[in-house]
């Protein structure tokens, strides 16, 4: 039983590590800020979540201690990390960062133009 438990813990933490490394590679390799935000927010969130789940299971099964703080941290990261990615992407778009040359459409441009015309602040 302990072997299965430890195996599961190791697998969860390794999956988290793998996803974090993939996020780093994505940030280095992808061409513009939006694709980088895409890589960084999703994979890093899942990576850190898996590591936290692994740590939680380790303390639960091996040390008999259920850490409410880790559960809270998992919920907190799951809520806030995508919002951070969304806000950074929006701030980049509104301050005029151009997407990569491979982009085919930009539906947001018309909306932003209309909003700028209707309220010239």
């Amino acid at each position: 039983m302990t072997v299965i438990a430890n195996f599961l813990i190791v697998v969860t933490i390794l999956v988290g590590l793998l996803f974090t490394v993939v996020a780093v590679i994505g940030v280095l390799r992808l061409p513009d800020v939006y694709t980088r935000a895409h890589a960084a927010s999703k994979s890093a969130t899942l990576g850190v979540l898996s590591i936290l789940v692994g740590v939680f299971l380790h303390f639960w099964w091996n040390k008999d201690h259920i850490s409410i703080q880790l559960l809270l941290a998992i919920a907190f990261l799951f809520i806030t990390s995508p919002i951070g990615g969304h806000l950074m992407g929006r701030a980049a778009y509104l301050s005029g960062v151009k997407p990569t040359k491979l982009t085919v459409g930009d539906d947001l441009a018309e909306v932003v133009k209309k909003a700028k015309q209707s309220k010239p602040e």
Binding site: A75, F76, I79, T80, I83, L94, V112
Partner: protein, 140 residues
């Protein structure tokens, strides 16, 4: 141009309570685990700063109509009062006392006067930090 803040504001309404509850937990857990008045106060300040980021200064002032300079003053008075209360019992300044009480919901709880001093630290940290941020963030 007015931007659309629905996502940020809705998230803030949820996340604020998580941070605030965690700061209360950190404050009360300070005697036996890492934490205490200073960290708890800074976490509460962080929750309030998140409110300030998502909404504007006027809305937050309406929601929390405290004068935070007075909060700092209350905190200092609480700390000084806890420290000097020992003089009444004819023991040296800053001597703390504790005893075990049986509370209705918590069972036997050890209550220590160091927590009152910590509450003073908490109020001072919250009051001072929010005063700094509000006076920097204001227009005039």
């Amino acid at each position: 141009m007015k931007t659309n803040d629905v996502i940020l504001q809705t998230t803030t309404k949820v996340v604020f309570f998580i941070i605030f509850l965690f700061s209360i937990h950190i404050f009360f857990a300070g005697h036996y685990t890492p934490g205490g008045g200073f960290v708890g106060g800074l976490l509460t300040t962080g929750a309030l700063v998140l409110l300030l980021l998502a909404f504007d200064l006027k809305t937050v002032k309406q929601a929390l109509p405290f004068n935070f300079t007075i909060v700092t003053g209350i905190g200092l008075l609480l700390a000084l009062g806890t420290a000097s209360a020992s003089l009444v019992f004819n023991v040296p300044f800053f001597t703390h006392a504790f005893d075990d009480f049986t509370l209705p919901l918590f069972g036997v709880t050890s209550l220590h006067t160091a927590m009152l001093f910590d509450a003073g630290v908490y109020l001072v940290v919250v009051g001072a930090a929010i005063t700094i941020i509000q006076s920097i963030g204001g227009d005039a």
